[in-house]
Amino acid sequence: MSRHRVKNVGYDDDDYEDDDGYGSPDPEEQETLQQCTAAVLEQLRAGEPSVTATKEEIQEALWHYYNDVEKSANYLRGKKEKEIKKQKAPTMQKAKGQAGLPVPGYPAPLPAISHFSAADFFRDCPWLNVPAHRKADILVEPLYPRIGLLGGAPEAGGKVSKLAALAAARKKKEGEKAAATPEAPSTPRPDSSAASSPKPPGTPLSLSERLAASKLSRPSDTNGSLRRLGKLEPSVSTPGRPEPAPGPSKPAPLPIPEPVKSEEDEPKDEPEPQQPTPNIRASPSTFASAIVGNAAGPTMAEPSHLNSNGVDLLQIYGQDHAEPFDFAAPSPDDVVLNAQNTAKGLKSKQAASKAASGQKGQADVAGGMKDLSVEEKVTVKSKNLDVLAEYNKSRRKKSANFVVIGHVDAGKSTLMGRLLADQGAIDQRTLDKYRKEAERIGKGSFALAWVLDQGSEERARGVTIDIATNKFETENTAFTIVDAPGHRDFVPNMIAGASQADFAVLVIDSSVGKFESGLKGQTKEHALLVRSMGVQKIIVAVNKMDTVQWDKERFEEIEQQISSFLTTAGFQAKNISFVPCSGVLGDNITRRSDDPQATWYTGRTLIEELETSEPYTHALDKPLRMTIGDVFRGGVQNPISISGRLDSGSLQMGDQILTLPSGETALIRSVDVDGEPSDWAVAGQNVVLNLANIDPVHLRSGDVICRASAPIKTITSFTAKVLAFEHLMPMQVDVHRGRLHVPGRISKLVASLDKASGTALKKRPKIVGPGTVARVVVEMDQAVPLEAPTRIVLRAGGATVAAGLLE
């Protein structure tokens, strides 16, 4: 039984065309059902008084009574009898009551189907929820022609007969299907044309109103017409069904706000005192008029509608140039509706309903307004792309990020400025402007560095403070430069930059004294940092060779010292390369030096060296992780934007994201990849995300973005295997991971480890010397989004004390 129920529930949504089939695959059940249906029908007919019921009705009853034939029959009989009685009661009540009932249901769009069969008509059944009424509609229809003609007379006095005659004439014109058609138009005519009756003021007014206010949605008329037309078939199939016409009454209230109701009341009041029977007949016609009015009014906007309902409209105004409409074919409205339905699927319900009824539509609009004002939520429709598939499809250039590191004043920014200028990423005009401005403040040699040093403080002091990213393209690679500051105070920024890099360019000042001081300073620290952050490949640009007259010996000396250092730092010899160059002059950057003293160098230039980089793979299929690099106002349209590099996973426009540690969600309004708008982004790309639905206080640089389905954990303590650069003991340290920078302390030295094997050499050492690998426990005051495996850097007192892997 339960199965049966389930199926029947589904049946409501089913296409009524496969009524008998129920769309259910269970033949046994169907057979039972058929038998029961037959039995019930027989009982109904045999019983006293004899009544009939449609198959659907019976089947529904059967379903309710679990296939109990007796009960179903009784129920149906009771219902039918009631209906018959009801019909005799004053129409007014009924009309009103029924008018009230369907209102909510009406706006429902009729999932229109090409021809107006009962099945189509029934499609709205789920809304109405009143199958009996619905039935009634169908069954009543056949009476219309008669009622209309008869009912019109008492209502509008003598003139009606004329109109009726006119209608009849037109009916003839229209041919075989005319049976139903004239009924509707005939009734309105008395209303509108009879100036003496109380209706004219009401009806024309409402009509004209409706006409003027084409706001009234069009589809409503579809309902009306459909309804009317739909009645044709059933009328034939079950003739003689005594029923008032609640059908027409229903459409009346729906699209028409106030005026129609009054109009509706008026006519009814009048007929009431007269014979009940005519009344019954009369009232539907009034309603029909209302429908017609409806149908006509809104149609205006759409020519197709006009065509379909033109007859009615024109008739209302007493003009008879209407073309007969072939009702056998689907109305243009229906065609449109059909198309919309199939296109929109379920949503069409909503959309169509909005359009269907002015009232409802207005209500919806009001509701929508309320939503807007209260919530202010921005919704962006996700394209639901398969990002990885899109990524694989897209034929992008090989891309690489590299970080430029080195001691302060080694010429990192200038070298990169030169590279960008020579690659055409910066136009000559801007460059000239920088040069002029730099000379004005007496820092002419810094002009190229200004390409990257955009900050006013940076320019005034001639020092890079924060990382700058810039990009340029060669024939087969798109490079992103991350220019890191060299000053020791800004190593945290450099760490942030290095965490975005695939490989590194180490810039070394070859001039006398500077190289040596650099080696002691940040040259070493930076190199160790990038290595411990997982950078494998390093290009050493021996800069300022012009100041040492391209001294080959100097170059070799530097090469020898640096390579031995880098090898001990853990770089493989094949991943280290050296290029002598001059950033200021541009020698050996993109073009070979034409300095005669530099002819000894025949190796690759810097740009050629850069191009040897292999493509890097990123964890595309891992859960989304992105460390926020910057939070800023992207512009008027994007009040909150964040930038950063996707560490893993992928995202797309419209995605919901979670930021930690704040735990707030946000919506990705749009995505920029490398400055170009994009629908999606994958790990390894530098992105700007424009967000919505989040307050900027919840976003800080260093926070991590992930998905709510796979959130990153926030922790207050972790164990890490680190390589000590300085002495480690229980001490206070700053924990760095990319932009993330939090204070913490080493609370415990768990063990010092063997470098190669990782086995514990000494448990709980008091102190860990430089160069030793140790396992330590780090505690932090605040919860921080970190997860293994990630590379962290521990700093204390302005120096990097350790770097390693979180376990």
Binding site: Q454, G455, S456, E457, E458, R461, I465, D466, I467, A468, N470, H487, D489, F490, P492, G629, D630, V631, F632, R633, S643, P696, V697, L699, R700, S701, H727, M729, P730, M731, Q732, V733, D734, H741, P743, R745, I746, S747, K763, R764, K766, I767, G769, R795, A796, G797, G798, A799
Partner: protein, 408 residues
């Protein structure tokens, strides 16, 4: 804190009457008062009386109550000390044994009595307590040097007050400053906004009156240390200067006391670096803080040299003392005063015994660092106790103890 009356007997029992005068004295009181002590102070107690008719009336009455201390609650930010315990003296309104929480107030005397009892019962005025009392009682007010430090970095500032015995982090200013971007001027805007908020907060915390008229009373302005990596502190200094010369001339009084120093980061753990900078050293040379910081640095240096002449951790230090390594000629026992705050009497006795032994028997130096200072916090990380040794102690034998500690 003023010492009103001192009646400490030779056996260590006795009473002391004190009058706290400034907020920091509450911190001293917090260290002096131990559970089990008797504390007499004025109190306001709500007394409810029930009439014969059954109606109740309650009234607030001023009482002088003596309680046996059960627990202490100290709020360092507002410098408030609440001591709760059982009432020991009978009054018209209270019965013996009822509980009461005394809120010690500034400029109201309180009397503290410590008794020497049987095992585990009250230790009286031991050497540490006497030492603390001496620290607490401000002789001639010469230790009043205080400074305000603003440790900052881009978008982050910690405003803290450095006192004799504690560093109080008053407020943290955190703001998201946009980074530099291609063609974006947001960074400068963000920074000046950040400076503005930080200055406002600083002045509010310092109770600094910026009106010109207030300049007449020549109240000394505490030194203000601005510390940051890079140029943030310098930028902030410049900002204050420009504010002083344009909108708020009252700030001019503040300018002379501002010192800009370097720190490695904007977090509080770089305060030690701030305090060591030459500019600050001259300002705060004889503050306890500076001495403590120097001591910790010496210790850590020694530890780094791996000479085995420095050790830390309770067991290791005790063992070193047993071997006589913390004695004359450079032996220094460094302890955090947190250890003496222990609720466990036996625990406290253990540490007091150790201190007494080092000082009196071994002839070494004992330094008790305030756990509320940055140096004390560094010491906490090492287990709250450390020692500089006169000769290297080989650690091998301690290893077994370590294992034992691990097993614990």
């Amino acid at each position: 804190m003023r010492l009103i009356k001192n009646k400490i007997e030779h056996d260590g029992s006795g009473t002391v009457t004190l009058c706290p005068e400034e907020p920091e004295d509450m911190w001293h009181a917090y260290n002096l008062i131990r559970p089990g002590d008797l504390l007499r102070a004025s109190a306001i107690r709500r007394v409810t009386t029930v009439q014969d008719t059954g109606s109740t009336s309650s009234a607030r009455v001023h009482l002088s109550l003596e309680i046996k201390v059960k627990s202490l609650d100290f709020d360092p930010h507002s410098s408030q000390l609440h001591v709760s315990g059982q009432i020991m003296n009978e009054t018209a309104h209270t019965k013996v044994g009822q509980f009461h929480t005394l809120d010690l107030e500034l400029n109201r005397n309180f009397t503290l009595e410590k008794k020497v009892g049987a095992d585990g019962e009250g230790v009286g005025w031991d050497s540490i307590a006497v030492e603390m009392l001496k620290d607490a009682v401000d002789e001639g007010g010469k230790r009043r040097a205080e400074a305000v430090a603003v440790v900052m970095q881009e978008g982050l500032a910690h405003i803290c007050f450095i006192g004799q015995f504690q560093t109080i982090m008053k407020q943290k200013v955190e703001m998201s400053v946009p980074r530099k971007r291609q063609g974006g001027g947001d960074h400068d805007k963000g920074m000046s906004k950040f400076f503005r908020v930080t200055l406002e907060t600083l002045l509010r915390q310092m109770d600094f009156n910026t009106s010109i008229t207030s300049g007449s009373n020549n109240e000394a302005v505490r030194p203000v240390l601005l510390a940051s990596p890079g140029f943030v502190a310098a930028g902030f200094h410049k900002y204050i200067q420009s504010e002083a010369s344009t909108t708020t001339p009252g700030l001019k009084r503040l300018l002379p006391s501002i010192v800009v120093v370097h720190s490695a980061s904007g977090y509080l753990n770089s305060l030690s670096e701030v305090l060591q900078s030459p500019a600050v050293k001259t300002l705060l040379a004889d503050t306890k803080y500076a001495r403590e910081t120097r001591l910790m640095d010496d210790f850590l240096d020694q530890l780094r040299k791996e000479t085995n002449k420095a050790t830390y951790g309770p067991r290791e230090v005790e063992s070193a003392v047993d071997q006589g390594a913390v004695g004359r000629g450079g032996g220094v026992l460094i302890m955090s005063n947190r250890l003496f705050r222990s609720q466990d009497v036996a625990e406290r006795k253990r540490w007091v015994a150790l201190v007494d032994r080092v000082r009196d028997v071994e002839g070494g130096e004992v330094r008790v660092l305030s756990s509320d200072h940055e140096s004390g916090k560094r010491l906490e990380g090492l287990g709250g106790i450390a020692a500089l040794l006169t000769f290297p102690v080989v650690e091998e034998e301690l290893h077994s103890e370590d294992e034992a500690a691990d097993a614990d």
